[in-house]
Amino acid sequence: MTASIAITAVRKSYVARGREVLALDRVDLDIAPGEFVAFVGPSGCGKSTLMNMIAGILPIEEGRILHDGRPVNGINRNVGYMTQQDAVLPWRTVEDNIALPLRFHGMAGPARRARVEEMLAAVGLTGFARSFPGELSGGMRKRVAIAQLLAYEPGTLLMDEPFGALDAQLKLLMQEQLLRIWTERRQTVVFVTHDLAEAVTLAQRVVVFSGRPGRIKQIENVQLPPTLDVFRVRFLPEFEAAYTRLWDALAPEIRSGEAA
């Protein structure tokens, strides 16, 4: 079976203040269809850069990224994209935000309204259709973003620290919701995070990046029994083993980054 995302020999550098800074150095990675992969690494390791290259926001100058067999060249409209920053448009109501990608994909009015209702129910926001994002709490806005992301059913989701700004308890609830949705629909997910526990809880595979220049240092296959209980899963021995191995790989990278 061909990979959903095939990254081959990708290298990325920036020119800043008269110096060339190497952000990513020869990254190779295949992500299978329906796989949930997390990227972890110290700040500035290029994990978000790589994700933005898959999304087509940053140009690929060296190397190649194939998504569903097609090379990524310019904005990739076959993915769903969610970041830590709120990207729901503050001047549109909740329902208008969720309906926006459906309009872009040419869905007719009645079908669109039905889908918006369905998505609102799925994220527990029925009754907030006509609210503006500014009237909602941070967690509710995240749920609007998830509803919008899933409404047009992209086969691949790119998520860059989507729950980074939330408090610890809310984060667990959002993780549970995401895991439930993924278990039902089995999209390919690339999930960038700082939080090792989050990576182990959600992902089937965790990719550890080294500090700048970013290289893949280690790949951990997480094998946890299938569960939606994102809280209790932390106390399983398999979780602890995976977490420990990942921490051992990650810690020296973070330390050297702090020393530099």
Binding site: Q85, A87, W91, S131, M140
Partner: protein
């Protein structure tokens, strides 16, 4: 579930207690008090004006409220007001509309194409620094002493305000909105319509609010310079005859017109920016 209660609280939901009612009543009393005090200030000013006129200051210089009121009343009844005000408003409206339309389109265009903006930047800054009023004589040569030259003066003033505000608004757009809208399948037109224009709206509206008085100023200055109709002409003619009563009456008409237009814009802003609390 407590989550539901929190969410209700987050949007000011159905938990209306006695304290909410009390807080609203207090806010209402404050509003009434402010309106009353405003009326008092107005009455005091008119009383002071009336008292000063002829005692401390020569009536020739400051006329008097009763004389100005009578003059306004006569203008209303004999059709003078409608005759002159209509032409001033007509020129202001056209100048405002043309300046806004051209300024908005060019602002969007420059905001989207940074290279062009950088190339033109010094010239725009130079033209912006010219007091637009200095262009009025030129416009009179170009367009004659009719309404066209007044429209041109106010359009030139409004154009720059709207152009610069639209440009800044477009430059300020959060790129994350642009990226996500594109990834979700939005075309360039969709990005412009759903992201850039609404995002720049607060800047543009600020520009509109600033430029309405400017549009009026532009027209009136055009009328001062050469015309045979309009509030500016009326004031200018009265000045020539040392008729201060008419001058004050004209100024009061302009102030009232400006206030009415600004109030209308405030409601327009509240509607367009209703998502912002």
């Amino acid at each position: 579930m407590s989550g539901a209660a929190n969410e209700a609280a987050a949007i000011g939901g159905p938990t209306r207690t006695a304290r909410v009612a009390a807080a609203e009543a207090a806010a209402g009393r404050r509003r009434i008090a402010i309106h009353l005090l405003r009326a008092v200030v107005g009455v005091l000013f008119i009383w002071l004006w009336d008292h000063a006129s002829g005692t401390w200051i020569d009536t020739m210089l400051i006329s008097s409220p009763s004389a100005v009121g009578l003059r306004l009343w006569r203008w209303v009844n004999d059709g003078t007001l409608v005759y002159h005000l209509s032409i001033t408003l007509y020129a202001t409206a056209w100048g405002f509309a043309i300046g806004c339309a051209v300024g908005f389109c060019l602002g969007l265009f420059f905001g989207r194409f940074t290279l062009i903006a950088e190339v033109f930047d010094p010239y725009i800054t130079a033209i912006y620094s010219i007091p637009k009023i200095a262009l009025a004589p030129l416009f009179i040569i170009w367009f004659g002493i009719g309404i066209e030259s007044k429209v041109a003066v106010s359009a030139a003033i409004v154009f720059f305000v709207i152009f610069l505000n639209t440009y800044s608004g477009v430059r300020e757009v959060n790129q994350i909105y642009v990226h996500t809208t594109r990834i979700m399948g939005g075309s360039e037109t969709d990005v412009l319509r759903h992201v850039i224009v609404p995002s720049a709206a607060s800047w543009v509206i600020t520009g509109l609010k600033v430029s309405v008085p400017y549009a009026l100023v532009g027209t009136v200055i055009g009328e001062f310079m050469s015309s045979n109709r309009g509030i500016g002409f009326l004031i200018n003619q009265a000045t020539g005859l040392f008729n201060t009563t008419s001058v004050y009456a004209g100024i009061i008409v302009l102030a009232a017109v400006g206030a009415v237009i600004n109030t209308a814009l405030k409601y327009f802003e509240a509607y367009v920016m209703r998502w912002q609390r």
